[in-house]
C-alpha cells in the first residue's frame, strides 16, 4: 500500500530535521519513546528544542549526547531512581559555556501550553504562576533568545485584566507548537488509531498540536478491532503520520500491561552518568555501537526482558523490587 504509515525506526526518525521542536510523550519514567530517542542519537540530530511535560531519561540522554539547544519542561529526571546528571551538569555549567538553555515551567502551564497548541490558539489563560519566581522577569533564562530564535515566544508570559466578570488579572501562557511528536503506545491500528493504557498523560494534546506525529508501539493491531471499544482509543489516526512496530520500545521505562521499569538499567545508567566520561562510555556501548533496537534488546537479554513483564490485570510487575540500593540479580 502506497499510503501506508508503517515504517522502520530509522525511516521514521529520518523525517525529523535538525533544529526542530520535538515533544516526547509519556511521563518521567513511564511510557517514554526510548527506542525512537536512541535512534535520534544514532542519527546525530542537533540543535533540538525539546518539550516534555515532564521529561525522564530520554531528555537526560539527549541533553548529554549533545543533541539539544533548548528545553522547556517542568521536570527532567528519573523519579526515585536517582538524579539526571547530564541535565544537571549542563545547567550548572551554564549556557555561556554549553550553548544549552533550559526554562522551567509547571505541570499545569505545560499542559495548558500544549492545549493551546492543540486548539490552534496562540496562548491560553492560567491562574497559576503568580507569586512564583517562575515568572520573575529577571530570571527568564531565555531572555536573550526571545525575538531571535523563532522557536520561542517573544515573552514568557503576559497579563490581561479580565474584561468580562470581576476584572482580575489573568496570566497568559504561549502555545507549545511541536514540529514533531514522539509517542510510544501499547497498541496502534494499522491506519494509526492509538490506544494508550494506564494513563494517556499529555500525548493526545501533543499529537494534536504537532505537525508530524510518530508513534512506536508494542504491537500493531487491526484497525477495525479498535472500533470495538472507541472509548479506549486515545488519538485518532488522522493526526498520526508514521507507525513503527517496536516491542519493548519504551525500555527502560514502564508500559502499563506490558512491562515495568527496569531497575538494573537505571542502576547502570545512573552509576555511569555521574561523570561525563562515564556517560560517554555508556552512550557508546548502549546506543552508538548498536545498529538498531533489535541489537539493543539482544544486548539487554531475554532473561531480563522477561523478568520485567507486567501482570495483565494489575498492569505492572508485582514481584519487581524498586530500590536500587537493595537490587538483586535478574532472576
Amino acid at each position: 500500500m502506497s499510503d501506508s504509515k508503517l515504517m522502520s525506526a530509522r525511516e521514521a526518525v529520518n523525517l525529523i530535521e535538525d533544529g526542530c521542536r520535538l515533544f516526547t510523550g509519556g511521563w518521567t519514567v513511564v511510557r517514554k519513546p526510548m527506542g525512537l530517542v536512541y535512534e535520534l542519537i544514532r542519527q546525530g540530530k542537533k540543535n533540538l528544542s525539546l518539550i516534555s511535560n515532564p521529561g525522564g531519561p530520554e531528555i537526560d540522554l539527549l541533553v548529554g549526547a549533545g543533541c539539544v539547544s533548548l528545553t522547556e519542561s517542568n521536570y527532567i529526571g528519573h523519579e526515585v531512581f536517582g538524579h539526571p546528571y547530564s541535565f544537571r551538569r549542563k545547567v550548572e555549567e551554564g549556557p555561556e559555556r554549553t550553548g544549552y538553555h533550559h526554562d522551567d515551567w509547571t505541570v499545569q502551564t505545560g499542559a495548558l501550553r500544549l492545549l493551546a497548541g492543540a486548539m490552534g490558539l496562540p496562548f491560553m489563560p492560567t491562574l497559576s504562576l503568580k507569586g512564583s519566581d517562575l515568572i520573575n522577569p529577571d530570571l527568564d533564562p531565555m531572555r536573550e533568545l526571545r525575538g531571535k530564535d523563532p522557536r520561542l515566544p517573544k515573552q514568557k508570559v503576559a497579563f490581561i485584566k479580565d474584561p468580562f466578570w470581576e476584572g482580575e488579572e489573568v496570566t497568559l501562557v504561549p502555545a507549545l507548537r511541536p514540529d514533531v511528536c514522539l509517542i510510544h503506545a501499547q497498541e496502534v491500528g494499522e491506519q494509526g488509531t492509538v490506544r494508550l493504557k494506564g494513563g494517556a498523560f499529555l500525548d493526545y494534546y501533543a499529537a494534536m498540536a504537532a505537525k508530524l506525529t510518530i508513534v512506536s508501539a508494542e504491537r500493531i493491531v487491526p484497525e477495525d478491532s479498535l472500533r470495538d471499544l472507541p472509548q479506549a482509543n486515545t488519538i485518532p489516526a488522522q493526526v498520526v503520520h508514521a507507525i513503527v512496530e517496536m516491542p519493548y520500545g519504551a525500555h527502560p521505562t514502564a508500559v502499563w500491561g506490558f512491562y515495568d521499569n527496569d531497575p538494573w538499567w537505571f542502576k547502570d545508567y545512573l552509576t555511569a552518568s555521574k561523570e561525563e566520561e562515564g556517560f560517554g562510555a555508556w552512550l557508546k556501548e548502549w546506543v552508538l555501537d548498536l545498529q538498531n533496537h533489535d541489537e539493543y534488546l539482544a544486548k539487554i537479554g531475554l532473561k531480563r526482558l522477561m523478568s520485567l513483564r507486567a501482570d495483565p490485570v494489575l498492569g505492572y510487575n508485582p514481584k519487581i523490587r524498586r530500590r536500587l540500593d537493595k537490587l538483586q540479580e535478574v532472576n
Binding site: 550548572e92 509547571t106 499545569q108 519566581d133 530570571l139 494517556a200 502499563w256
Partner: protein, 276 residues
Amino acid sequence: MGLINPAPVVGGNAEKAPCSSLERMVVAASRLLQNGQMVLVGTGLPLVGATLAKHVHAPKMTVVMEAVAFDSKPFALPFCVADARGVYRTPWMPTAVEVMGQFLQNRRIDVGFLGGAQVDKYGNLNSTCMGSYLHPEKRFEGSGGACDIAVLSGKTIIIMVHEKRRFVEQVDYITSPGWKCRDHRTGRLVDRRELGMWGGPSAVVSTMGVMKFDPESHEMYVDEYFADLGVTLGAMKENTGFDIRIDGARPAPPPKAEELEVLRTVVDPEGIFMKY
C-alpha cells in the same frame, strides 16, 4: 468500603522497631488530612502521608495525583505519579489538563500536599535549585506541579526534613509561593492576597514537629514538637535558619501502634520512600 485494599506484606519491616523521625513526620502529616477532603499529592512523602491517612482515619478522602491517578485503590505504593500502581481500580482516568487545569484551578482541591528542598518563614518553597537560578550551585530535576499546587489549592501542607539549611530566612528561588511571595510587577515580596491569590500554606510538618503560620504576620511558628522522639524546642530553634517563635508550642500526641503498623506493612512495606 471506601478503603484502599490492603497490600500484601512483602517486606520484613513489621517488627517493633523504634519510630524513625521520617516515620514520625509522615504520621504527623497524615493526621492533618480529613475524611471527605479532596487532596492533591506529589510523589514521595506526601503520597505516603496521604495513603496512610486514607487507611487509618480518612477512608473517604479523595487522593489525586498530577499525572492520572484519581481516587484509585492501589495494592502497592506508586513510586511516581504516573506509575501503573496508582491507577489500579481507578474510576476515572484524567490527564494533567483535567487534574491541574480543571479540578485544581477551579478550586475543587481542598488540600495540596507538598515537599521541597528549602522553606522560608513565610512558607515559600524552593524545589528548583540551590544558589542563583541562572547559575545554580546545585540544579534539581524541576518542580513538576509544585507551583500550581501552592497557588491554586484551598490550602497547602508542606512536609520536609528539619535542617538549618532547609529552613531558611529566604529561599534561593520561590518555586511555590507561600504567604509573602514575589510580585512579578515589582520584584518585591508582597502578601499573596494582594496578588489576588487564595489558599496558602497551613502547616509545615518536619522531622522535629509541626509548624503553623501566624494569622496576622504570616510568619512560621512551632505549634507541636515531637517530644516522644526526644526533640526539644531548643533543638528546633537551633535547626531553624531563622528566628522561629516557640512560645505556646505543645508536645505532639505520639504515634499510635496502628499508624506505624499500617505505614510499615501496608503503605510502604518496601521502604521505597521510608528507607527502612
